[in-house]
């Protein structure tokens, strides 16, 4: 996968393949921001990535703010959702920096665009758009 790039998915099965393709570039310490309207499939995309790592319990952290998953292969995943965060102080209050500083984990952040000031400069961004009911456009970008 070269960045920036786009992928179109026509089905859940294709989304799974795109997720696996993207996973192959990820390594511990990476931060991945997912933006896209409600219902475009941000959580679904992360679910497919974590399933490829052997994690079956990934779900939306909209209410929990952050979920933590551990895979058998020693990969730790932090899964954030900023949707319900009202102000940036709340993110400091839950220790966002310590999560982002963990070199042994991959961190996913849904709705990261709501608080760009806390995002590390070095990160991946994925923008998901609904093209038609079953069709999704994924735009991948990498900031170094």
């Amino acid at each position: 996968m070269n960045f920036p790039c786009e992928r179109i998915s026509h089905s859940e099965e294709e989304t799974k393949l795109i997720a696996e393709e993207f996973l192959s570039v990820l390594k511990p310490g990476d931060v991945v921001v997912l933006n896209g309207d409600l219902g475009t499939g941000k959580t679904f995309f992360i679910k497919k990535i974590t399933e490829a790592l052997g994690i079956t319990k990934a779900n939306s952290p909209t209410f929990a703010i952050v979920n933590e998953y551990e895979s058998g292969q020693d990969t730790r995943i932090y899964h954030f959702d900023f949707y319900r965060i009202n102000k940036v102080a709340e993110l400091h209050d839950i220790g966002l920096e310590d999560y982002l500083a963990d070199d042994e984990a991959i961190t996913f952040i849904e709705w990261g665009e709501l608080f760009p000031e806390v995002l590390p400069h070095k990160r991946y961004e994925i923008k998901i758009e609904e093209v038609s009911n079953e069709q999704r456009k994924f735009r991948f970008n990498k900031f170094t």
């Binding site: 931060v31 940036v88 102080a89 400091h92 209050d93 220790g95 920096e97 310590d98 982002l100 500083a101 806390v118 590390p120 400069h121 070095k122």
Partner: protein, 225 residues
């Protein structure tokens, strides 16, 4: 910052003292009997503070032949530093202090480390302490040594990591580089020493609202300016 005149008149009231240092990866505790006699123990393992801190306190208490009831105060490293570490240290300090009805002495982490370094560095040596606040920024302060004590050259602040450089002759401590002086946080007994030497005006009896010094406080201050 004039600390040379501080005296130790209320020393007996706060000894023996339990000191806790958890601001970075080091998890350390110390029981101080006075300015020269102490027991210390430490663990250097990532993600260990929450599991190991109380074990460490208990093991050291038994080694030192103390009862927790003997303790007259708790000195705790109050940051800046890692969010999780500081919270765990502060929570432990509050739990113990509340149970024993004794005060807490919050100890500014960078000043404790500066104090520690000032005992070994030569007179007038300039040095920087910089520890990561997040991926792109670090907590930063600059000091020089005078009479085995530290003098601030630049007050504590947050700086982008790529804006921190040091001139020839300055030493850099902290975790922002791979520098060989891997001294990142103070030794637990130094938290206690600082409390004994400078903590007189810092003794907190009503600590319900005592919080560690964390990135949020810097940001709030910046907004207020």
């Amino acid at each position: 910052m004039n600390k040379e005149n501080s005296d130790s008149t209320n020393l007996p009231d706060i000894l023996p003292l339990l000191a806790i240092e958890t601001s970075e990866k080091l998890c350390g505790v110390s029981f101080l009997f006075n300015e020269t006699e102490f027991y210390s123990a430490k663990i250097y393992l990532p993600h260990s503070h929450s599991e190991k801190l109380f074990e460490l306190i208990e093991a050291l208490r038994d080694n030192a032949n103390l009862k927790l009831n003997d303790i007259k105060s708790v000195a705790v490293s109050s940051g800046p530093g890692s969010f999780t570490g500081l919270r765990i240290g502060m929570a432990a300090a509050k739990g113990i202090a509340a149970g024993l009805k004794i005060p807490i002495i919050p100890v500014p982490t960078f000043e404790a480390l500066a104090f520690q370094l000032s005992q070994v560095l030569p007179e007038n040596q300039r040095f920087i302490i910089a520890n990561k606040a997040n991926r792109d920024e670090a907590y930063f302060a600059k000091f020089h040594v005078k009479n085995n004590n530290y003098i601030f050259e630049e007050q504590l602040k947050i700086l982008p990591i790529n804006k921190i450089f040091y001139e020839d002759g300055n030493l850099l401590f902290g975790n922002i580089s791979n520098n060989p002086n891997k001294i990142i946080s103070p030794e637990p007994e130094v938290i206690g020493f600082w409390a004994l030497k400078f903590g007189n005006n810092n003794i907190v009896y009503d600590f319900d609202f005592l919080e560690p010094n964390y990135i949020k406080d810097f940001i709030v201050k910046e907004v207020k300016k």
